[in-house]
Subunit: 286 residues, 2 copies
């Protein structure tokens, strides 16, 4: 997706939020905001949003001298999902269609996103998404693909949310034994995107035959880009491929053979897709 | 009120909205956004929000070569209120407490504000505000002041909204004849603030003994600033003084003897006041 002019003030809002997570010092906050604004002004606005996000968050990390400003926020998200997990696991089990319920919960978890301006309430979102109509609904295709699958590639999105992704994969396993489960996490911190540390904290490594791949957070040496040939090959080598969230939806849009699960949270993306903020999507891209 | 760091991206959002009102040319939109961002970066952030708003909107006017980018939007707001007016007038008349209902409608009209990020729906807001609890409610004081008043000074806020201010003043006149009604409008365009042209379009000049004063939109020669001694004197010379909206609430906060009527729309102001976005206030400042 091309950068929209609205992304420019939105990045500044993100940077301000990030520095406020780690410091109450208004002088430091102003310094970060000024440096980020300066960088944006000097940048070519033909970059993609993830490329510019990398620039912005590098500045936050450099000036605050914190490797990951979202560390505590991610931990809180992870813990809040761990707390809800037993109850949600029970909800899936007791449901008339456990797979469908698990898909809904995994999409509801996608509300945990610090890239967008809205505040969120996870429990409220879960209640809503359990009843919400999908604007795109390829559920039958998912059931069918799962039935024949032996290998799974799963692009996760955010910390916290990955606990509900785990629940979804556990529900996959109730239907179908999988020989190989590869989770794709970020190779380094960017906003509240899940890294290997988050995945291990949430127990994704306890799933049978599970392994981890990393994609780039924008920094060198953190993994291939989503649009790369390497990632294309990963997708082709797996029977079932799931992509969570807006960032993956944008970044993987040139590849084929994926199930996209997301909640639309950015008004620009909503307008691009012709849907509304808050809409939920389960789309298979042939 | 002091500028908050959140105001910086918010001003860019405003500028972008303003240029989009008058042109679909993305090159022009980018040029405006870049110039505004540059100006903000060069500015001292100890200015007040209205001072910086003036700088920002001057740039929009200059680059687009439009004296008032909000002209059409203001006309639409005015027309939509004119359309609702007969029905609302009836609602006030039939109400158990017409003054109270008219105050509520005038506050509901304050939702028509293009300075803030939220979209609005006037009719929905009217339905809500007719039932909403005031977080500050000096209604008894308003009734008492009106009973003894012979002169009224009324600081209006936005285009469209002024139609509901007119309805409020008409309701004042059902209770009490007034010898002098002075409306304070902006002396030049800034965002969707009402100017003399809007006030005349909405028929505020038809009210008996009504006259108009102007305050500054930031440009030289448009009137005194809200914080000035001139405005202080105006306030002291009138028996009943009403101030609508957030901008007036901030700008007139150092004066005494005013009724503030507003809906809180900016999260920074909400946090400053210890209230929530969407809250309604009728406050008398002694």
């Amino acid at each position: 997706m091309k950068l929209n002019l609205d992304c420019i003030p939105c990045f500044q809002r993100q940077a301000l939020q990030a520095v406020r997570f780690i410091s109450d010092d208004e002088k430091l906050q102003e310094r970060v905001l000024r440096e980020v604004t300066k960088k944006l002004l000097e940048s070519n606005w033909d970059l993609t949003p993830p490329e510019l996000a990398h620039e912005v968050h590098s500045i936050v990390r450099r000036i605050t001298n914190k490797k990951d400003p979202y560390k505590n926020v991610k931990r809180e998200s992870n813990d809040s999902v761990l707390k809800l997990y037993p109850e949600l696991k029970e909800k899936v089990k007791e449901s008339r269609d456990p797979l469908r319920t698990a898909v809904r919960l995994a999409i509801a978890g996608n509300i945990i996103d610090f890239a967008v301006p809205q505040k969120f309430n996870l429990e409220e979102t879960i209640r809503e998404v359990l009843k919400k109509r999908f604007v795109i609904d390829d559920y039958r295709k998912l059931q069918k693909k799962l039935k024949d699958a032996e290998t799974l590639l799963f692009f996760v999105d955010n910390a916290g949310e990955i606990g509900l992704d785990k629940l979804l994969v556990e529900t996959f396993l109730e239907t179908k034994k999988l020989k190989q489960i590869d989770f794709v996490v970020k190779g380094g911190p960017i906003i509240n995107d899940a890294t290997l540390e988050d995945a291990v904290y949430m127990g994704l490594d306890d799933l049978p035959n599970s392994e981890f791949l990393t994609i780039s957070n924008g920094e060198a040496g953190t993994g291939p880009a989503r649009s790369s040939q390497t990632v294309k090959k990963w997708i082709e080598e797996h029977d079932l491929v799931v992509s969570k969230g807006q960032g993956n939806y944008e970044g993987l849009s040139e590849h084929n053979g994926l199930f996209f699960m997301l909640m639309v949270k950015c008004p620009i993306i909503a307008s691009d897709l012709g849907v509304e903020v808050g809409d939920i999507i389960l789309e298979y891209k042939q």
